[in-house]
């Protein structure tokens, strides 16, 4: 198998794209601009999934997230008139408290990720070189296989959840039931 090429460069490129996209999502006035920034973030994340040797999740990310959920968001943004909201205050009154809470959470993350136990880091790097050719088959096996499939019941529950979500969305969005 060929060794990966220029991994740090692509990681930092995609990471920077994601961070900038995320900042744009939470700062833009126009919700459509936010949605576009979020789509960029999601696509960059699909690239990171590819770098983590998980092409199936990357495909699901592009098709379902960038292609499905974000289109739903854009539909709703264009369905409701947001002209007036763009002229209003964009942040609520508790924004200072909110940022303080987020900063506390960030401090917690830093504390966790810099913790070392017995001189070792919490998340050491496992060196591995498995290809992605079997990826989709293995996931399908975990989901559907009669003997090795551990997630078959969870899969059925997920389909039930989607059914409930469909009914819920129709009930919520309909004028009169």
């Amino acid at each position: 198998m060929n060794p990966p090429v220029a991994t740090p460069f692509f990681f930092y490129l995609l990471a920077a794209t994601m961070i900038i996209g995320g900042i744009l999502v939470i700062t833009r006035k126009n919700a459509i601009h936010s949605a576009m920034a979020l789509i960029t973030t999601l696509l960059a994340q699909a690239g990171l999934y590819l770098m983590l040797y998980s092409p199936f999740v990357a495909g699901v990310q592009i098709i379902l997230y960038a292609g499905g959920i974000m289109v739903l968001f854009l539909f709703v943004i264009m369905l409701i008139n947001l002209e007036r909201t763009m002229k209003e205050r964009q942040f609520n009154k508790q924004w200072l408290v909110g940022i303080a809470a987020a900063a506390t959470l960030g401090g917690l993350f830093i504390a966790v990720y810099t913790t070392t136990t017995k001189g070792k880091e919490l998340f050491p790097e496992g060196r591995m070189s498995y290809g992605e050719t079997q990826n989709t088959q293995i996931i399908a096996g975990l989901l559907f296989d009669r003997h090795a499939g551990q997630y078959m019941f969870a899969f059925e529950i997920a389909s039930l959840l989607l059914l409930v979500a469909i009914i819920g969305a129709v009930v919520m969005a309909k004028k009169k039931i």
């Binding site: 740090p8 961070i19 979020l38 959840l161």
Partner: protein, 111 residues
Amino acid sequence: MEAMLHITTLHYLVLGAALFLLGVIGVLTRRNVVIVLMSIELILNAVNLNLVAFSRYWQGMHGPGALHGQVFAIFVITDAAAEAAVGLGILIAFFRNKETVNVDEVNLLKW
């Protein structure tokens, strides 16, 4: 420099934490419901990135068949789809009744 040039699981975790924080800031500070929902999507994606990074790490320890993290990521994406559908349905019903999309104007249950 050595730590910068070799991409480890921790790099992905730090990126996931940064995205999670951006999502939290969005949820806590924005008024527009649509952008709050998008921030929730950011949070879910940060979690997904962590799951897939850990899946890769776990694969290194337990062989190529250990893809549990990726299966979990797919379940999280399913949940995100359900959440977006119901959330946007609620948003449409709310907009029809109150002609606004600002979260701080939803205060009927507040006293």
